[in-house]
Symmetry: C2
Amino acid sequence: MVEGSGGPGTPGGESLLFLTDEQLRKGIEAMFFAYRGFTADPDRILEKHGYGRAHHRAVHFINRSPGTTVNNLLSILGVTKQSLNRVLRTLIEDGLVESRVGNRDKRERHLYLTEEGHVLEAELSTAQRARMRDAFRHAGPEAVAGFRTVLEAMMDPEMRRHYGRLKEGGQ
Amino acid sequence: MVEGSGGPGTPGGESLLFLTDEQLRKGIEAMFFAYRGFTADPDRILEKHGYGRAHHRAVHFINRSPGTTVNNLLSILGVTKQSLNRVLRTLIEDGLVESRVGNRDKRERHLYLTEEGHVLEAELSTAQRARMRDAFRHAGPEAVAGFRTVLEAMMDPEMRRHYGRLKEGGQ
DNA sequence: TTGGAATGTCAACAAGGCTGACATAAACTG
DNA sequence: CAGTTTATGTCAGCCTTGTTGACATTCCAA
C-alpha cells in the first residue's frame, strides 16, 4: 500500500498515492456537502411557488429538450410513471407545461414549457447557474475540466448516455 | 458578453469564455447524473437491510466522528431533530448505534457505532469508495484535484466548515 | 433558583418515491 | 382483421423522510 514514488500531479501519472480511504472519504463528503449547496438556491425558489425538486427536474429537462415524450423523461429521471405523472399533472394544470399529442405516433405526448413555464425555468436555472458560475470562476478552467471528468466517470453508463446528449458544443 | 481573448486553459486565467449558459448547464446536469451514480450502490445495500439514505448519512458521520453529539449531527445533516431522532432510534433499537450519556454534560448523548454498526458502515463505504476510486483512477490526479476544488467552492460556507474538519491529511 | 440548552417523544402532515391493478388508444404483427 | 404490444394516464395504498407544533425531562450556568 505504500507508494514511495510520485505524488499527486505526477505527469501523466496514474499515481495511486491519493487513493487512500481517507482521500476517498473526502471525495464522498465533498459530493454530499456540495450537492446540498447545489440544490439550496432552487429549493428556496421552488418553495415560494409551492413546488419541489421533482418539479424542477421535470421543468429542467423539458426545457432542455422541448417536445420530449413522457417515456423519454421517465428514462432520464429514473422514476416511475406514477411519480412523474403526479408532477406533470400539476405543472400542466398550473399552465407551466403543455402536453401535445404526437403527430406520427398519437399515443405519445410531447411536452413543452409554456411562457409561464419558461419564466419559472429561468428563475430556477439563473439561480443555479449563478452558484455554478461562482464555483467555476473561483476554481478556474483546469479545475472545471477535472470536475466534469470525474463526475462523468461517476455516472452509471445509462446516465452517461443522457448526459452526452444535445449540443455537445463546448469542452 | 463577447470575450475574444484567452480560451479555457489560459495560464492563471480567470477566463470567462467557458462560462456560457450552455457550459453551466452541462455542469448542472453533471452534478445531477453523477449524484445518482454516487448513491446508487449504497441505495441497493440499504434496501437489503431495510434502511434508507438517512440511515446511511447518520452511520457515515457517526463513524467519521465517534462520540459526536446529536446536536452536532443535526448541524451537519441539516434536518430537524425529529427526523434525525426517528432514524437514530431505529439504529439504536437495531443495535447498530450506541448512545451514551455525556460525562461532563449529562444532557448530551454521544453516539458510537457498535460492532454491527461498523459492519454495515464498512459495507456501505466500501461500495461507495469503490465507485469513487474507479472514477478517480479513470480521471487522473489533476482531475481529482479540480473536482474537489469545484465542489468545495459550491458548498454553503457552513457546510464548508464541516467539510474541512478532521484529519486534513491529504489534498 | 431560575432560565435556557440539549434531548426525547408524540401527533399530524406533505412530498415524492414505490407497487399493483386497470383503462384507453394507437400502433404493430401475423 | 384479431391479437399483442406500447404509451400514457389514473386510482389506491404504502413507505421514507422531511416538516411543524407541543410538551417533558434533565441539568448547566448565571
